[in-house]
Each structure stands twice: as structure tokens, then as C-alpha cells.
Symmetry: C2
Subunit: 249 residues, 2 copies
DNA sequence: CGCTCATTTGACGCATGTCAACGCGCGTGG
DNA sequence: CCACGCGCGTTGACATGCGTCAAATGAGCG
């Protein structure tokens, strides 16, 4: 069944060389960084890849660690965060299935990474990958583009953290999730939040209580509906977009 | 082979080919991205560079613009910022002399850039630069490293914006400036702030008034001394570092 | 020397953090 | 299958830190 997908216009899934590889069956084959590779390159990449699983809450790496690996998340989600001495935490990003992790790392890991739920990754030893990079110049360009995208997201997040109200933060967060959701899950306007309220709070620079109150307010104003704490249905998208960066006030 | 400058371990300033070039006299020759280039590469780079000046407050480019150029700031400082519809502003970074600007740009510029004071830049047409990039693979690697550094800074800033108190923000800001200051100016522990209180406020996610009050507080506690609003002398560095991320509450 | 704009200082109120109690869902074990 | 307990989420009461508004002071520049 992996074969019949060739009619998609955007990114034709090419046949892989017949070596019983895993990449061709990979669920994120079409979206991950590997998507720019042709079969031959991919087989080279696959040769150095190993797979690993993490369970909920498990540490993938810590800030300051020597970056031995680069990761491609094949299922589940990861939170990236930094800690202050007294325990305060700032989540600097969530990693979705298909996203690369640790590619733009110069020196040591700049933040810690934990599995939110169960996570499976495809792992590349950094040294070997760097050797391959010299062989695939277009892959290096792709990495630069991906770093640029991360930087853009980081800038958006700085705007959010520094200048948005709690309501604007939560609304922006939901809309951004809906954007990702195309590429990773579900249908309709139903979002499933893998992360808990604490993660959301630490991502948006708020407290758990404020996040919870804001969700409640959105529900009471019929902008969203909640099916349990981890499922959100956007019922009034226009209103949500207005709330995400309110003109007036 | 180009020169006998090999005795310096870090970054030998090599003689440039005799073409009356400008790069060899460039004040940021030793620190800018160009520092990894040897004479031959540099002369190629120089061939596509043009110079430009901006006066205080002038726009270098706007968010959303097509990224025609990459910049190397040779003197003065630039603020990078994003705006919200109602006029709120978040400064996402300051560009120091020697820093590159617009290198990790994928698509359009992700933020706007304005000269803080008088600024001179070295400007490279993007298209031509991309062609050169294919010829200098080590330059591309360098760009990726620089993007990684920017990303690290962005993550630090997210931590600051989301989880630090005004006092911690201002203290962190001063310490970070002191870090940069090695590479750009002055001596002793005297910092000169090119930017005004409004810029600092919009960088730290505060109001002008809170920034001003925090400076005053630092002065009253003899942690810093102020010589006019734009000159800060760090008189108690240890205290400042303690304030930058206070352990206990 | 005086104007103008940036910065500082003050007074005040509100939004959001803090502390605390409650409820709910889920997994576990009886 | 039900009872229990634990962790997460919600809701409430309260306090305060920071933003808002306003006025005074000071610095830079013509």
C-alpha cells in the first residue's frame, strides 16, 4: 500500500532501492528532512540510522550535553525546555512527528528534551552525519532552510511572550497547533493536545491557572469546545483569529 | 600559501590580493563571517559587495520584504523587531558591528530592521551570494553554525521573556551587553548603550517606566553607576550576576 | 540660552500570579 | 465490578507587581 501514493503533486514518494530498508515505510517519509533525498542518498542515510523509543517523561538529552545524535521524530511529541536555577521552566518548542531535532546545534545542546508521551525516533550519529553532509551539499542547504524556519518560529514566540496578553497567547497557540495539525493528525477542527496544562503554561509564559481560566473563558464564549482537557474543537475560527492579535484595546 | 601569517593560532589576518580592495581594511575583518575566508575567496566576495549607510531611525528592510540582500554591519547598530496590529513592538534582536544580517532567511524577511544610530553596512546581493555558496562549501557550514548561534540566543531570550522578573531581565541584559562589548567597544566595565529605554523595554518585554525604575534601583543599590542615560558602569558584577537569575525568589 | 524630546518619578488600579480547596478521570487493586 | 487514591485540571479568594496615566526633571542640540 505504500506505493499508490504517487499521485500527490507536492512530494512524490519515490521507490526506495530494494534493500528491505525502513525509510520507505517511514510514516514521516514525505515530510521529514529526508524528503529531499533521492533513493540512493536515502539508502546511505539509512545505513547510519538507528531507532529508539522513549516513554512518557523520559529524557532524550539534557542542556549542555555533548550532541552525539541528531533525531528525526517518527511518532509522538517532544518538549524542548530550559530551566532557571530556582526551578522555573520555559518550554522553547515542541517537536512534532517528522521534525528534525538537534540539527542546528553548535557546541552543546542548548536546551533539554523530554518525551511528552511515547515517542519513537530515528537517530543519526552526529559525526557520521557530518561526513555525509559533505557529500550531499543540497542537504546542507536544506538544513540551513530548516534552521531559518526554526528561527522564524522563535521570533514569533518572542513576540508572543513579550507582547501578547494571556488570551492572545492561548488563541495564537491553538491556531498554531491547528496549522501543524494538517501534517500530523486528526480531521475537522478537532485538535488533540498531547501536552498538559503545565506544558502549555511553560510554553506561553503563564501559570497553569491562567491557562485553565483562559480555556474556560474561550469555552464560555463559544469559541472552542472542550472534550476532556486534551481535546479542543475550534467552533468559531474567526473569533479565535481576532483574539490572537487583538487590534484594539 | 597566500601569506606567511600562519603563526597566529586563531585567526591570522592575511594580506589581501593587491587590488585596492576594501575588505582588508574593514574594521570587522577579524570577527565577521568573512573571517573564515582566505584571500582568494574574499576577493570573490568583495567583488559582489556594495556599501551603504543609514542614518538614525532609517529602515533597512521591512518584515515581509523579499530578501534581496544579506548584510554585514561594519559600524553602528541595528534593531530587529516585529509589530502587532495595534502598534505593540517586540525587538527580537540587536545587530552589532561584525554581525551578519539576513543570512538565515527562508522566504521573506521575518522581521523589520532599523538603524539605531548611524550605520554602515557591507551588502551582498542574495542571488550572487547563493552562487558563491556553492563554490565555498565551508562558508555554508559556517552559516549553519551562525544560524545555530542565533537560535541559541533566541532560546535564551524566550527564557528571559517568559520566566524572568523585570530585575532579572535588566540584569541579564546588561551582562549580555558586557559580553558583546569585548568585541565591539570601550574598556573597563563601562558600557555604552546605543539604544534608548524604549528599545530596551521592547526587547525585554517591559514598559519604559519599568526599565527606568529598574535602572534606578540598581543604581541605588550600588550595583551600577549611570553617567547619563546611555552609559552604564558595572560596579558590582557579582551582585549583578546574582540578580540575573536569582536562585531563591 | 532655550527648546524639545527622552528619561525619571509619582500615584493609582487592574490583571495576573499566588495560595488553597475542590472535582474529575483514570488506573489500580481488592 | 466497584472502591479507592492519586494526579491533573478547574475554580475561587486574595494580594501585589507591573502597567497606565500624568507630571516633573534632565540632557542634548541648535
Amino acid at each position: 500500500m505504500a506505493s499508490a501514493a504517487a499521485q500527490m503533486d507536492v512530494r512524490p514518494v519515490m521507490r526506495i532501492v530494494p534493500r528491505g530498508g525502513l525509510c520507505d515505510q517511514c510514516e514521516v517519509r514525505g515530510t521529514a528532512a529526508c524528503a529531499v533525498l533521492d533513493d540512493h542518498d536515502l539508502s546511505r542515510l539509512e545505513a547510519i540510522a538507528t531507532h529508539k523509543e522513549y516513554e512518557a517523561g523520559q529524557t532524550v538529552f539534557d542542556e549542555g550535553d555533548d550532541p552525539r545524535h541528531m533525531f528525526n521524530v517518527t511518532s509522538g511529541m517532544i518538549r524542548l525546555f530550559k530551566l532557571l536555577p530556582n526551578g522555573r521552566r520555559q518550554i522553547v518548542g515542541f517537536v512534532f512527528p517528522g521534525d528534525m531535532l538537534g540539527l542546528a546545534t553548535h557546541g552543546t545542546y542548548t536546551c533539554s528534551a523530554e518525551a511528552i508521551g511515547s515517542v519513537t525516533v530515528c537517530r543519526f550519529p552526529r559525526e557520521k552525519l557530518i561526513v555525509l553532509l559533505d557529500e550531499f551539499p543540497h542537504l546542507q542547504g536544506r538544513l540551513l532552510d530548516m534552521a531559518a524556519d526554526e528561527l522564524k518560529q522563535a521570533q514569533d514566540q518572542m513576540l508572543l511572550l513579550g507582547r501578547k496578553s494571556p488570551m492572545e497567547k492561548v488563541a495564537s497557540f491553538l491556531l498554531r497547533l491547528r496549522g501543524e495539525h494538517d501534517q500530523c493528525n486528526e480531521n475537522g477542527d478537532r485538535l488533540d493536545l498531547a501536552m498538559g496544562r503545565g506544558d502549555i503554561a511553560d510554553y506561553l509564559g503563564l501559570t497553569i491557572e491562567t491557562v485553565s481560566r483562559t480555556f474556560t473563558k474561550l469555552r464560555n464564549e463559544n469559541v472552542i469546545a472542550l472534550e476532556g482537557a486534551h481535546h479542543v474543537i475550534i467552533t468559531d475560527e474567526d473569533a479565535l483569529e481576532d483574539l490572537a492579535d487583538a487590534m484594539g484595546d
